[in-house]
Point group: C2
Amino acid sequence: MPETSTEPGTARAAAYTPTDRTVPTRSKERAAYDHELVHAILDEGYVCHLGFVRDGAPVVLPTLYARVGRRLYVHGSTGSRPLRMTGGTDPGLPVCVTVTHVDGLVLARSAFHHSINYRSVVVHGVAHQVTDPDEKRAALDALVDQVVPGRSSDSRAANAKELAATAVIALDLDEVSAKLRTGGPNDDPEDLDLPHWTGVVPVTKGQGTPIPADDLAPGIRLPGYLTAR
Amino acid sequence: MPETSTEPGTARAAAYTPTDRTVPTRSKERAAYDHELVHAILDEGYVCHLGFVRDGAPVVLPTLYARVGRRLYVHGSTGSRPLRMTGGTDPGLPVCVTVTHVDGLVLARSAFHHSINYRSVVVHGVAHQVTDPDEKRAALDALVDQVVPGRSSDSRAANAKELAATAVIALDLDEVSAKLRTGGPNDDPEDLDLPHWTGVVPVTKGQGTPIPADDLAPGIRLPGYLTAR
């Protein structure tokens, strides 16, 4: 993928600027930086893997995130380790946030050329706690809506006590790259006559029928933002 | 979840020993350490998020893994950053490997109690390159079979050149924990009469119909390990 893309009659697409750590050491052709692609990958998910350093060792935890413009919000409790590490005088916490979607299993004739079709985004940066109350409320709404679009306006908003118990960290989208593989297997020419089946097994994801809570009042119907999915 | 589980008439189940960094600071009841549960979560997946420290900052990359007994193998190119960092005199690379499955979206009446049903495993340790040729071959087979069970014996095994170009790192399962959430929303008593739908939206994953490669010879049928999935 080129670093930026152009379409006939349009201006050069906006893109993140590659840096030393967002240019892969291998498979450089799989890297991409344009906003549209990066944001689409982020918008398709809601669980990221948040990496930080604790006592010199790496820690990777799954957590919820939301994208708002060129900023990511990551959710947590004020008691959780990464959130506490951004607190106090808040010098910020160096983090790496990664979002990955698996699209297919690539079965080549040779074991060596087996692969996965995927799309991932890696964000490097320094995360800070969100302290502005308005930004925090908006971020919490975004975190709910990232999982179920439309849900934040159909639930009770956080009260003061809940707001105080929730921490949100913000990470600007600045040093960002996408990486992706698409297409079929790439066997070596000398392997083409081998008798093994070769192709791609698509990997799918979806949502099942919503299960009402045991104590849901009988008159409350499934909302439109769930039936339309 | 208890650290270990017992069943009537059976011995106490084998479990990983909790350590300072595998006991969560919050939601301790969601942590689990028994081998059976940890291994089942690992065996259900094939993409992990590998965390390591580079120039003092965290890096999190998606990559393939396989579990063989109490050891994880993680795949890479000899040119990739984490693999090069384990090379040379090989003092080992401190890593954190995390595997996450999302099972459901938990919609509470309050925004605050929204959650995700999930199962994750976090492994801390020091990874080393696999240098023994037999172990390396077995690890590569395991990496292929973790994605598609049965596939390694129905593809051309790596030749000497391919083996040399592939790096595999090993991480012993020693400092390991699972974390999981199951069940419905946990709204506060004062919110039970709110008019919002509440329950769980199951999250599903699956595989679509295999797509043969363009150059697949007409006589080669879909193998049983793909039709049976």
